[in-house]
Homo-oligomer: 173 residues x 2
């Protein structure tokens, strides 16, 4: 991330990263399939955290409620805002198509995991869980982007909650 800031993402070679991390080029490849994966690793951790929170929600909660509650619980458990790194990563992904592509693929994988995790929960409108999860992730993504566009002036959770409220208003008409 530091090298990326200093020289730009596509001007940083894997060799340079390996060197800066005091590991061999080959070892880098043992841990990450590509540069993109390395940059987006923090996001993967976020996904894992959210999944863990979701699994701990009481079974009685509906799918949508459990998802919302997981976000609320996780984000408010942080002692500091996920400021610099998140903003940096998100901005980077906006500018670099390859990063964007990888990020979206990660999101799709995350969606599959979430879908499995909410399977079996009550689901008010009979909406299939794939759709529900997709919409949830859209809201999360739009929330993050809004937060970034506002230059991280508000609380991330606050922005996300706002978007989630919007999602709960009907789309039709």
């Amino acid at each position: 991330m530091r090298l990326t800031v200093e020289h730009g993402f596509d001007r940083v070679t894997i060799d340079a990263i390996a060197q800066a991390a005091n590991i061999s080029r080959r070892t880098f490849s043992n841990y990450f399939a590509c540069k993109e994966d390395a940059v987006l690793h923090g996001e993967q951790l976020h996904h894992q955290g959210l999944l863990r929170a979701l699994r701990e929600r009481p079974d009685a909660e509906s799918a949508w409620t459990a998802l919302r509650s997981s976000v609320r619980g996780l984000y408010s458990s942080w002692d500091t805002q996920p400021d610099r790194e998140w903003a940096l990563r998100t901005r980077l992904a906006r500018e670099h198509p390859s990063l964007m592509a990888q990020q979206l693929a990660n999101h799709a994988a995350f969606a599959r995991d979430l879908e499995r995790a909410v399977a079996g929960r009550h689901n008010p409108g009979g909406v299939r869980s794939g759709l529900l999860v997709d919409v949830f992730l859209s809201a999360l993504r739009v929330g993050l982007n809004t937060w970034i566009d506002e230059e991280e002036t508000r609380d991330l959770l606050e922005v996300v909650e706002e978007i989630m409220d919007e999602v709960e208003t009907p789309f039709g008409g």
Copy 2:
């Protein structure tokens, strides 16, 4: 696409594609940045068609209605179902992470275009258009996947309309 079916996506080199198309390797790169782009080109055409349809919708229609109507209009204007190629491409993208990543990046770009195209339209619940477009695309994607999972036995439009109806039921609770 033919070579991919015969030998598998990742065993087809750009050289092979170029040779089969009677063009030089270099010319391939003049048209497509990578193999993935070539395979997904049909989808790009679909996006363009949908955008064109959207721009021709009457201004009085709300954003959501205009989006739904565009799909309805475009899909029912086809004389044949987009059967083989679509199913093939979608299944391929499911199996190959790099293809999936590229596809999702294309969807994101498409989302930006759609967002611009519906900007200014009436929007019932005051939902921001980014969110609206995202949800619309989720519905389209889920519809396509459902259609595939049902082995293309029904009409694609029918499946998509069904999902769109689901989206119009509230998510909250």
